[in-house]
């Protein structure tokens, strides 16, 4: 088990370098000079321009810049934002909890809804329920987030007025961040109604963000369940006289979960991509929105640092998923 962990951690090293390399050079391919961007409308004279260029190290060859950057990364220094002049890591840490909170609730929604839908659809395959859920999940999978999010806002927030339109918390409340997770912070604070308010703000964004993973999970669970339900050991379990519910949950689902867990792990990267759109639409102060803004301002350190940190997070989640995998599936546990 420990050997397995180290081997997987070893796999992360080349991926890590790959990400730094890719992001560093790709953002430099985007047209637009960060110094001119910083200078804004008024522009900058040639002397000052050269001075700034030297200050940020842009006068050196790109390869040299890259090694300087890498050197910083290994010392835990991701650089400072061109715009806010604050360390990238610090900014990331302030915004990250908002994205995690949204992502966790979204994936919870996806699992809590998608898994049972898939299971029931498989058990009643060929029935009305099966066709309905599979059609809905296909629609959910194909729906562009920006459109779906807008529709949700128009219907539930604007027409029905059930949920807030955007943000994390109403202006009525002010919560000093302690953990950065609004749900926890509001619970810790003694302001009445703040928790419910935070929860209400979370509903629509997490549905918008969780719809695609939900559809994927439902479909994957269904097909995986169908395969498992045909297995001999399911017949054996039934021949033992177990109730149908026990056969499905204890014997079928556990086996069917193995591919589903992998898919859930893969959905985390989908979530991050979706978070960029969702956060922008719902004005959610998370890293998705932050990176989009950084790109439009050519804020190189922010983009590089942000994407590197996201990549590390995704690698960690996948590692965690692999570890979960071996907990569910004894065959994996023993072959290591």
């Amino acid at each position: 088990m420990l050997g397995f962990l180290f081997r997987r951690l070893g796999d992360i090293v080349p991926t890590f370098f790959g990400v730094t390399l890719l992001v560093f050079f790709l953002i430099r391919l985007i047209p637009g000079d960060p110094i001119l961007m910083m200078a804004g409308e008024r522009g900058v004279d040639a002397v000052r321009y050269a001075q700034l260029k030297a200050q940020y190290g842009f006068d050196q060859p790109v390869i040299v810049q890259y090694f300087h950057y890498l050197l910083g990364v290994f010392q835990g220094d991701l650089g400072k934002s061109f715009v806010t002049k604050k360390p990238v890591l610090e900014e990331f840490m302030t915004l990250f909890p908002a994205t995690v909170e949204l992502g966790v609730i979204a994936i919870l929604f996806a699992i809590v809804v998608g898994l049972p839908l898939g299971v029931i659809a498989a058990v009643r395959r060929g029935g009305i329920f099966d066709y309905t859920t599979m059609t809905i999940s296909l629609a959910g999978y194909s729906m562009p987030i920006f459109w779906w999010a807008t529709m949700l806002i128009m219907f539930f927030s604007v027409s029905l007025g059930w949920t807030p339109v955007s943000g994390r918390l109403s202006v009525l409340y002010y919560i000093e961040p302690t953990t950065g997770f609004m749900l926890i912070d509001t619970l810790l604070s003694d302001q009445k109604g703040a928790f419910v308010d935070a929860l209400r703000h979370l509903i629509l964004p997490s549905i918008a963000l969780g719809t695609i993973p939900m559809a994927v999970i439902a479909r994957m669970t269904r097909s995986s369940m169908l395969e498992v339900l045909r297995e001999d050991y399911i017949r054996v379990a039934r021949a033992k006289g177990l109730s149908p519910a026990k056969v499905v949950v204890v014997h079928a689902l556990r086996n069917a979960l193995i591919p589903v867990v992998t898919v859930i792990g893969l959905q985390v990267s989908v979530l991050v991509a979706g978070a960029i759109l969702t956060e922008t639409i719902f004005s959610w102060p998370g890293i998705g929105k932050w990176i989009v803004e950084a790109v439009s301002r050519r804020d190189y350190p922010t983009i590089q640092g942000g994407i590197l940190l996201i990549a590390i997070m995704i690698m960690m989640v996948n590692l965690f998923v692999d570890l979960t995998y071996s907990v569910i599936n004894p065959r994996i546990r023993h072959t290591r």
Partner: protein, 329 residues
């Protein structure tokens, strides 16, 4: 009263209008402590009829019977819950492939204890002790450590022993063994059969042994039932059934045994295959493959009749010399 009474058991698949009868009006009974051997080619409905007995035929399959009585109670006319209380406790089944019969996610111990938990209750300690007993009983060496093993760590023979332990956990009165040795290699086959017969004799449990192995049933079974294309073709006491088959199909099956072809150039076979869903002949289902078939066989289906103490489905049952009788009548 017999332990199990099956009257006109029929299992149909496919559309209501044009169903495929995988099992066609089969009637038999099993006495307490009796070994019933069911033989027949692949596709003859042996497995399906036993699955129907266990209540394991799913929609769209349809099971009907005039009666399916176990110990005086009709299995088809009781609540699903009540039937589950009998399934796995009083009637247990073991399947063809032991390697896929065990759930890969759970230990041997968990899977055996599960059957005990459903039907016997008791606390965990009692169940664990009983599991240990069972593993000893089915001849697992070092049962204590094997209890913690996962199925992928066991060999085929070992798995089948575990499956048997699971099936006999609640002291069933009827055990259905569906080709329990087909997936095992020859040296293990005999061991498993010996084990089953020993368990059967020790506990006075009835055993339905479904197999292709004619030599095995002639030795092990008290009564033998020959099935073909979902129908019962011949049944009777094991003594003499193979010595003097009354049905041409039984005779042909026996002639197809390799040892009976000694001195011939080629092995004897029965030409053709068992009819499936779409190629059912009219009249007797065997007629296209039967060497004695007449026009009557092709046009009319024979019924099961009593012929000197055997149930035979043939217009011209064979006499002691293996010749068809009554063909000129």
């Amino acid at each position: 009263m017999a332990l199990l009474e099956v009257k006109n058991l029929t299992v149909e698949f496919g559309s209501e209008k044009n169903p495929f009868r995988a099992v066609d009006s089969v009637s038999y009974s099993v006495e307490r402590g009796e070994v019933l051997g069911i033989v027949g080619e692949s596709g003859s409905g042996k497995s399906v009829s036993s699955l129907a007995l266990m209540g394991l035929i799913d929609y769209p399959g349809r099971v009907t019977a005039d009666s399916l009585t176990f110990d005086g109670e009709d299995l088809l006319r009781m609540s699903a819950r009540k039937r589950r209380n009998i399934t796995g406790k009083d009637i247990a089944m073991i399947f063809q492939d032991p390697m896929s019969s065990l759930n890969p996610c759970y230990t041997v111990e968990t899977q055996i204890m599960e059957a005990l938990k459903v039907h016997e209750g008791g606390n965990k300690k009692q169940r664990r002790e009983r599991t240990l007993d069972l593993l000893n009983q089915v001849g697992i060496p070092d049962p204590k450590s094997r209890m913690k093993a996962y199925p992928h760590q066991l060999s085929g023979g070992m798995s089948q022993r575990i499956v048997i332990a699971m099936a006999i956990a609640c002291n069933p009165r009827l055990l259905v063994a569906d080709e329990p040795t087909t997936a095992l290699d020859v040296t293990i086959q005999a061991q498993i059969i010996d084990l089953l017969l020993k368990l059967q004799a020790d506990s006075d449990m009835a055993l339905i042994l479904i197999t292709h192995d004619l030599a095995l049933v002639s030795e092990a079974a008290d009564r033998i039932q020959v099935m073909y294309a979902g129908q019962l073709f011949e049944s009777g006491p094991a003594d003499g059934l193979f010595a003097a088959p009354r049905h041409p199909y039984t005779q042909a099956l026996l002639e197809a045994l390799p040892e009976r072809s000694a001195g011939h150039d080629r092995l004897r076979t029965i030409p053709g295959v068992v009819p499936g869903a779409h190629d059912r002949p009219t009249g007797c289902l065997l007629s296209p493959r039967c060497r004695y078939a007449t026009d009557k066989c092709v046009s009319t289906q024979p019924l099961v009749t009593d012929y000197y103490g055997r149930d035979v489905r043939c217009f011209y049952p064979l006499d002691d010399n293996g010749q068809p009788t009554g063909r000129n009548v």
